[in-house]
Symmetry: C2
């Protein structure tokens, strides 16, 4: 059934034998690549880049063309397409990250929030998936993705990212009823969104819980993890049990036991988490994805080689490891350092695999 | 020898019996208090507030006067007094946090960095300690503090806080020799700084490792924890073994085993860490300090009471717990919510203590 030429990534998601450790990078299509910056300039804004199939396809394939050792591609899009489709008005200020024109600021606005017509409003995403799949021509798998219900909610309530999360935490602690309303709407929308990405052709899906780590240990399961669990269950009920599902809570390394119980095929790890310890905690039936500090790619080849080997050594022998960074690659990364990382992974990882 | 009237905090740091769980709050003298905002207005800038004994004493005592249930006071100062004394030019931009005029940007500047004359340059801090101790009149203990060598270095290299730490990480990964030079200078300076605070009268010291959590799991001990260990050892060698020492790495909840081995009397916990699990890991010979999410204080009395009880329940029976927030109190906290928290701690915690 699977006619993808390089299926190492998909095999690893199923803990099947491979001859080396597969790798892809979060934000691999991005500003560190001169060819990306060039396309971006032609497209105009970041959102126009996402919404134009030709441009989105072009940038998705750029890292694959430059680096033959990448084992997966990821849809070029933004985690905030959903709240944008809900009418909150996504916009970008250069150097400041994404913002919303109309964040959810009072009870009335929250009560009015409803599931958008995903197929209509997010049509451009599914079109991009189809265009990218066609251009990939089965070279490597394509990953679809969404923000987690909690992470989307943080942007929807705060109006931007990277805050102290005081507005949304006030909701968590004072009005769990309103918080739960937002999260349920987000959960249904994300489920539909990922289902349509799968229908359009993605080979795996990933849920980015970028701000789950801001929650208190006592609230993480209730406000973030459980909603990701519902999405996974519902995708399975919809008939997408064969599609691997990856979750990644940045800053969530203390909660791996709980993460291992929601039915995900793989768990992403940030660089603060020891992958050897994570493997001991979650066992061999769930794949681990990670976890090199992206800042290492700003240093020298010698340091990169040593750090890459350390991650592979820490995971150790056997299947179930997808190499990745612990967070998105930074825009200041010299492209040749990525090449150095990828060559090291391909050559050094073979000894850990027995076919 | 100890003539402090309320010594519950100090007894708990030594795992001795007390009749209730003591409490203080990080940034308890701060903007959430109208009386603080008033003094601040009179002082002019934040730095002038720190550098004037009368003002520093006034604001240190304000929370104690308002809340009789607080069991400790903390020196009113800033963690960045040391790099300021080193000549980097600390300044504050309203709403943006601390910055430095002359961050360490090249090898030459780093090589020139030297231990400042602490007693001369930071004279105002030790004067403040003496003035505060006098004004406290032995009501409760006074905590002295410093930033950790790593945390000070992040500000010194990045020029400000809350960044992606790419500049300092580039040093970590490319020039560990230069990084180690900065950290050694900082370690010697912090040791001298805390020793002089102890000589001036503080009853305990705390090392704030606010950005230790940004390090990779494989680098935390080498670049942050080990230097805190050296400070503790050297303070002990200088004859301050009887002074309790608290460490707090924000975002460091995955590294408690290592933290338990450096000779600290207490370990601070952020709100992402489960205090019950932390106690199982570190045992009963080290005190735990924490760990209520400060955002809970923006909610309702009912939610606050439930959350405070949950922290106390999670720690459980016996000595060795100092109640605190998992991070500084936010400026938006209604002062009456602090009162609610303190009353709940005092009344509910008694059942956990057997004298």
């Amino acid at each position: 059934m699977n006619s993808i030429q390089n299926d190492t990534f998909l095999r690893t998601l199923k803990q099947q034998n491979t001859s080396y450790t597969p790798v892809w990078m979060m934000r691999q299509a991005g500003r560190y690549l001169p060819e990306y910056r060039n396309t971006r300039k032609n497209a105009g804004s970041f959102l126009e880049l996402c919404k134009n199939n030709d441009f989105a396809t072009e940038v998705t394939l750029q890292p694959l063309d430059r680096y033959p050792y990448l084992d997966a591609s990821i849809l070029f899009s933004d985690i905030l397409t959903i709240p944008d489709a809900m009418g909150l008005g996504l916009y970008f200020v250069e150097g400041e990250g994404p913002k919303f024109e109309r964040p959810l600021q009072d009870e009335k606005e929250i009560q009015k929030l409803d599931i958008p017509n995903v197929d209509e409003k997010l049509h451009y995403v599914f079109e991009a998936v189809r265009a990218i799949k066609k251009a990939l021509n089965q070279r490597v798998p394509l990953i679809g993705f969404s923000g987690s219900p909690w992470t989307l909610a943080t942007y929807m309530v705060e109006g931007k990212g990277g805050t102290n999360f005081l507005n949304i935490k006030k909701l968590v602690y004072s009005r769990p009823d309103l918080m739960s309303h937002i999260l349920k709407i987000n959960t249904e929308t994300v489920t539909k969104y990922l289902a349509s990405q799968i229908e359009a052709g993605v080979d795996a899906v990933m849920i980015f819980d970028s701000w789950g780590g801001a929650l208190a240990h006592s609230e993480y399961e209730r406000y973030s993890l459980n909603y990701m669990k519902v999405i996974i269950s519902n995708l399975n009920l919809l008939g997408y049990e064969h599609i691997p599902k990856i979750i990644f809570t940045k800053g969530g390394g203390q909660w791996l036991e709980a993460q291992a119980k929601i039915g995900a095929s793989a768990i992403g790890l940030d660089w603060q988490t020891d992958i050897a310890k994570a493997r001991r905690i979650i066992g061999n039936n769930i794949t681990l994805q990670g976890n090199l500090d992206p800042a290492i790619l700003l240093s020298s080849p010698k340091a990169i080689v040593a750090a890459v080997k350390k991650v592979l050594d820490n995971y150790g022998y056997g299947e179930g490891h997808i190499f990745n960074l612990g967070h998105g690659i930074t825009q200041f990364t010299p492209p040749e350092n990525v090449q150095c990382m990828l060559e090291t992974i391909r050559s050094y990882s073979q000894k850990f695999h027995i076919e």
